[in-house]
Symmetry: C2
Subunit: 114 residues, 2 copies
DNA sequence: CTAGATACATCAGTTTCTTATGTATGGTTA
DNA sequence: TAACCATACATAAGAAACTGATGTATCTAG
């Protein structure tokens, strides 16, 4: 994804969370949304994104729907019911993990403060 | 490291930060410290830790010093000057990255709040 | 005398990423 | 009109970081 390679296991979580908020999105849209939300500092590469989307679909987390827009094919992804459950799971896992990391990396850190 | 596999790129950062705070540590000690700091929820496996230590040493971030303690060999690691610079770099990178992730994963999030 | 803790290490295999490449359409610009 | 960039999908080779297993060795506890 971005240049720095911290947090390599978070792409799935990002995809699922964006789809929870947006009902349906296509791949290119996801890359642009992430770029926009981070001021261009996190860039999801296509070589990482598309395999991740295919994997999530194969695992039953996402369904697809193809649309034609201006002679261009778009593949829209949306959450399945399993996918919706997975978002909650991944999000609490993420928050717990960041908490642990903060405790290691910043001994002054307390939950409730930034 | 732990079971969940989020944040795979953070092991180096963890090692460097612990060594910034502790002057010198040996491998097994690092695994125990992390386990202790996270209530057993993050476990650094030896298969991940030792190669990471060797790599950081090869890159000039760490130096080693072997000690005999009760007929047991301990390999103590400490930060070099380059290593000390690297800690600062990795830490600000980490904080920036978590900030970006929070903006994606939690639209309500603002810096200054948890 | 077996099992677990301490302490190091390596290695095969897996996952996840980067970088490059490929196809195709449409707009802009020199 | 050729070159280039944006849009939009996709794959594939190689790198990097991990898991889980295995190995060596010492010491303690049951």
């Amino acid at each position: 994804m971005s240049n720095n390679s911290l947090i390599k296991g978070s792409l799935q979580t990002i995809i699922l969370k964006l789809l929870e908020e947006n009902e349906k999105m296509y791949g290119y849209e996801i890359t642009q949304r992430v770029k926009e939300l981070t001021g261009g500092e996190i860039k999801i590469t296509e070589g990482a994104l598309y395999p991740a989307l295919h994997k999530l679909e194969a695992e039953g987390m996402l369904t697809t729907e193809i649309q034609q827009v201006d002679n261009r094919v778009r593949k829209y992804y949306s959450l399945t019911q399993d996918g919706q459950k997975e978002v909650s799971a991944k999000m609490s896992e993420f928050q717990r993990f960041v908490g642990h990391l903060q405790r290691i990396l910043d001994p002054e850190w307390k939950p409730g403060l930034a």
